[in-house]
Symmetry: C3
């Protein structure tokens, strides 16, 4: 089983992953946080773009499943010797890994990798393409908090233009019956957004009636050498940045991290009890254990003992 | 249990760690150098400042205790995306680690981390602040060599100004009854040293009657862009560098490593049988296993089987 | 047992390694790809020169043998603080590792390391010196494909000047009875090659009657700041680059990787069924498991169960 796009999964697949995740969440609260499910299996994390949280989440997930995990990182990679991605994947395939977890700066890189390996490929972010495990952990956090997904109202706010999270979340949230809208300045909406068939608002008033405000990270690191889509960070922050005062009592705030305190949200709001940011990280570890286990042994739902 | 400053430990705590270390030292001499004590536990090494020896020592210590160990390093860290230390720690906390081992260029970083995690935090060096596990391994080496600590005379020599080791060693050595003095040029003594209540000498004659000469590393890498505290390395080496001829027959030489051969000591002296430098490294691995075990299971003294 | 040069091994030693490798190759095809042979043993990979494939191959080999593996890499190493190689090795020796796997940009670095450690040292490439595990995996691939080594005809083609693989392969191939010749432009042959006692050809006609064409990687990354030994890559590729059309039906093509598609060989040829490039990678993992096991327990041939 590959996981390249959130559209690779049906609603039933997602529910199965969440049942597994419930077990792993419980295991994470024990003192012995480890199960033997993937002993002797090989997971290779291929991260050809910088990452701390996603990479460490997958590494720890693999280790807690007792798999052998090795990390291939961009800076230490043959890529610096000019090897193509195809040859990198073909080489790793010769080790007969069970799973390749892959992050790459180019859209479509994970999809391409599936052509050259018999391992399960998990897309851990491909440029501005997709980030399906982020969508799954977001959904799992919502399910844990609200007990349901169907009928929730979520606004995804901010830098949609450069966000793979926005794409995966939009598609995955709708699949589970969530009512999604996009909110942000027109310059941060991608060209062709009218074909996404989603309501787009250019005003924070659109947050009034939602259950959850999902703030996107301003992707400052993807701005190099381009005309910036906002006049200045300070101005963006003043108009679009959220503080405690702009969030209503019953609303919840999510963010994929790492957060820019003082840009898309205030530090106060990040630390507010309405924030689910750390809840999401915790969900991520459990969901990724479920994904890895399913990737290796699709029918292993009962193996989490 | 956190270990931020050597002052967090009483003399009795230190003796308990050394009893555990004796067991781990013996295990390191077996062919199977591993015990199951921390199986299923999670140790995260957060090294946001370059390190080889301390990081590898902790990593190996964790693995020989059968823990799951993951390494977060500065260059590959979200820190490059502008995330604050607080958010890095809060994120890692969501994985429910048992121990965070932390090195950071800022004084006080490990102390701050304790606010945001329920894991035990081990300070593996915070700027020019402290390096308590270095102090413990130094004490353990002295205890192994002399059979006692109380009443030993030790001179700490050289770059006190920029040395966290000097600070931790001074405080820890005195706690165990060691008679400590500082020796070096006035420009390498920190401002306010008169409040440390320790004899300071600006002449190598002060080494005459000590048992142990503890040489500090010239922290060349912390000198960037500042007026250098010594006129030139060659001149420093000629006046303050130690060679075999300046060390008396019964004296021992220590150094926290990595050494600058030809600067604070000659290559001959580094390789001399009076040097304890490698003995210290060996002690370090055993002591760090004891620290990790105690951090996870404070009453586990008998678990080293 | 150290493995610094392919000449450290007799033909019988090599045959023993291959018997072990056969077992490990079979294990790699299982779903549980792990044996307990080196449980509790410590392997330190010291890679002070960039590498992906050799480093990951050794790391995975160690983990599948259940050893504790730690990686020391150049960029994160004390080397950046000016520590000498001697002191790095002495420090690591204090951890009592069973094996040091070492890559270093200087010829002779691994040989030097053997002076300062009681661990087995495996040379994973020392500058333009040797790369004996590459030779062993190449031999093992040939043995798997042809069922024999004695009497095979192999042409080693291209950048002999800057290739440690050429050196190790030449010496090792001849030891096993292979008929070797070197082929390439005179400017890519090292000075003094006349003393190697091997036929040298400056024309691709010399490939006519060989069984195997072993293409070397153009070591572009070793060319910095020197007069390039070929006028241009495009010209080199046009004259010396191999495509499908220049390889005869029964011939096989090998390459140590990473390949430069479009330089020493065409992409079509790399992907051709006559190419053994990925077969070599697969052989490498099995051979390295055999080498590590033998390095720790020379008489452990029967331990692969």
């Amino acid at each position: 089983m590959h996981l390249i796009s959130i559209d690779d999964l049906s609603a039933a697949d997602i529910e199965n992953l969440f049942s597994l995740s419930d077990g792993f969440l419980e295991i994470a609260s024990r003192s012995i946080k480890k199960v033997p499910s993937l002993r002797g299996r090989t997971i290779i994390n291929v991260f050809l773009e910088a990452s701390t949280r996603t990479q460490s989440s997958f590494e720890l997930a693999g280790k807690r499943l007792s798999a052998d995990v090795i990390n291939i990182k961009g800076s230490s990679s043959s890529v610096s010797k000019g090897e193509s991605l195809k040859d990198t994947i073909l080489t790793l395939e010769s080790y007969r890994p069970d799973v390749l977890v892959m992050r790459h700066p180019q859209v479509g890189a994970s999809r391409m990798a599936t052509r050259y390996t018999s391992a399960s490929v998990i897309n851990a972010g491909d440029g501005t393409g997709e980030h399906p495990t982020q969508c799954l952990l977001d959904l799992y956090s919502l399910r844990r908090v609200y007990g349901r997904l169907d009928g929730l109202k979520v606004a995804i706010v901010g830098d949609v233009l450069r966000s793979r999270v926005a794409r995966s979340d939009l598609f995955g949230f709708r699949k589970m019956g969530i009512d999604v809208r996009l909110v942000g300045p027109p310059t941060l909406m991608p060209p062709g957004i009218e074909y996404w068939d989603v309501p787009v608002y250019n005003d924070l008033d659109a947050l009034e009636d939602v259950d959850v405000i999902y703030l996107l990270r301003m992707q400052l690191e993807r701005a190099k050498g381009k005309v910036p889509p906002v006049p200045s960070l300070r101005e963006y922050s003043r108009v679009w940045g959220l503080s405690q005062y702009r969030v209503k009592p019953g609303q919840r705030v999510m963010h994929p991290g790492p957060i820019n305190r003082g840009v898309e949200l205030s530090g106060d709001l990040a630390d507010d009890e309405r924030s689910l940011i750390l809840h999401q990280v915790e969900s991520g570890l459990a969901v990724r254990m479920a994904i890895l286990l399913t990737a290796v042994a699709p029918a292993a739902e009962e193996a989490t003992g």
